[in-house]
Symmetry: D5
């Protein structure tokens, strides 16, 4: 089941540099694990912004929420979730 998540990151200007590096490293590890497990299918940087457009493939809204809620950067994120379904045109194309 697919969900698009549009994320905007707002790191405070006065965030401790060390803490910031740690957060970003944890975020990378977190993404890596989810991407390898096939949950976090797509991740694109929005050009010119600290933000991204992501697509998740999960079993349920509960699983989606758990994944997002435990993002290391979660307290600094504004996330908009859009539920997706297969488009009929794509279904028609597939053999």
């Amino acid at each position: 089941m697919l969900f698009c998540a549009h994320m905007t990151v707002s790191l405070p200007h006065d965030l401790d540099e060390h803490h910031r590096e740690e957060l970003l490293a944890e975020e990378l590890n977190y993404f890596t694990a989810l991407h390898r497990s096939g949950k976090w299918v797509h991740l694109w940087r929005i050009a010119g912004r600290r933000g991204n457009i992501s697509v998740f493939d999960v079993e349920s809204t509960e699983e989606l929420h758990e994944l997002l809620w435990h993002l290391p950067l979660f307290p600094f994120l504004i996330i908009e979730v859009t539920p997706l379904v297969e488009h009929p045109s794509l279904a028609a194309v597939s053999p």
Copy 2:
């Protein structure tokens, strides 16, 4: 080069039924050709809406514009284009 396009479709209520069927059939053909050529990479229906989130992989903004401008439904679409780039986390994951 990747671009996300968020499309909202507004078909007039009084559109002739035959014309409408034709438009939708042309739209499907148009998508099919572009999808097979690898230009229209992703197409997801937004749940509960006549609209979609698409990702295009094109050579240039000119090519993107040409593809969108000639969509059979173009006069009935509101399209928001977001340029995308590879996210560094994804780059770090790849072998």
Copy 3:
């Protein structure tokens, strides 16, 4: 799996009265079947508006989309879907 749908109805002023009555009757039948099957769990009218707040309990986003797409009033609706999950406070309360 729960989804909130906020629906706004915009019936054209010049809609044929008979057609309008038919649509509303079909809408009622449609709702009745889904409510009895336990899919359309909640339906509240928003005071002072032709619109509603609904909660659906479905197996997937695909099922949700199918339900909404086939609403007899669909061409006249603006629908915003919000995925919901059980709130931890509610989980803590339950025995």
Copy 4:
């Protein structure tokens, strides 16, 4: 009498950890009492957000306001209240 409340929580990043834990514990107690009394009928977490959609069943707008105003997290909440009424389709379905 039913009211929908859409709540967004904005906890300051520099909130003292202990104070924060206390607030969340008080919030849980507060919810528990109101839920058991039948006032706070529904509470759903919005997937991917620190926020919720709630439905209250109260005697009056005064009672609603008192309940919301004394939420332990009230100073950190943005609340939008929507008055609800029974939908005629639901009334038609009930025996």
Copy 5:
């Protein structure tokens, strides 16, 4: 129980003149009855606009909705309802 209703009127330009006069006359009768019964407490025209700010004193949200839904101009109105309660400062002033 008090509710503020902010109403914006959008009469179509091509509305039949006779129908329009009828609607406005019905609207006046409707208001008159509700005002005399003490339900429609306040009604102010917004300067420079075809619209108003109203305050209703009703027994319930159901009664409020019935009153608004049956406004002769209802199909041409956009109504935003805000539930009100007595302000503590006013309570402190009263003897």
Copy 6:
């Protein structure tokens, strides 16, 4: 001459508790005097919000501005002013 003022209060989280109490006490005194003089005609709390809808009856926009500008909470208020006039339906009802 009537004006509606929609006020939203944003007290900073770290406002000194004593200062805060003083401000709220001054605000009450300020309101009391204006209400008794017939200038601040209506004051309603918006349910679930620290904010209000007020109606002022003043001689001029200058008087209105002076009243609002000297509100003890003025630096923490966002105020939207709407000029009102007697609604013709109300005029028609009065004997």
Copy 7:
């Protein structure tokens, strides 16, 4: 007493050309009379738009509303009214 009015004109594309000319001629006459009487003090075209920024000097909100309501183009206008007062800096400058 001064009020700023920001007006946007939306003439329907299919407005009868003769009717349109009449309306614009009436609008000019209307403005001329009010400008000569000192009521409609300022009128500026917004560059690149069919719209204007106006300043009215009237005795009351009632007078303002009457002036605006009877504008020949009123059914095609969206008007936003802002009450103005003399700025203290200007008062300080005047001898």
Copy 8:
């Protein structure tokens, strides 16, 4: 003197095809003359939209308004004008 104009074109769906072709041809002629005279300096199509971002170099706001007002497509345009000035960084770069 430079102005940026962001233009959105909304051609009605039922515009007569011949009239539409004429309008677009006149628009091209209009642009050509202004571009050659150095008034309409830049014109870019916004990718995926019927609209453009333009830069005009004119003697005055009056000249700008005249140019825009007489655009053949003016009744179908929404234009937002932004006054521009030379950026100090660019001035520093120039020899």
Copy 9:
């Protein structure tokens, strides 16, 4: 050449009282000089707000920008500029 500037002032709550007084005194001097020179033609306080609507008469957008950029309160202002031209109705009225 005329420009309307809509200014909103956001002075931080914790601004040093002395610095604040200085800023406001400088702002007054700045306005006084520009008003006497005929550049800052109109200045109105918006009733109930710390903000103003101003009209400037300048030689160019460069001059306008210089005037606004050097406002003592500039770092605390949000300014929206609207280019104005003489309205044809006003031109028709003048002898």
Copy 10:
């Protein structure tokens, strides 16, 4: 390939004066290099604002993102990117 970037600068009021000067000097150097290389084609200050409208000519969205991401002021910027293409009217004009 052309992109328009609309940038708004929000420097914190309490930014260290020395750090601020350094940032602005680095920004100037950064712009100078990119302008000379033909990447940052246009840069205009928006009159009355700390912000700009820029046009970039780059090989790809990746290059655009790299340029923007490394702007010395990047943490203080809100950037909106609009992909541009050559307008057919301009193409028609060119010999």
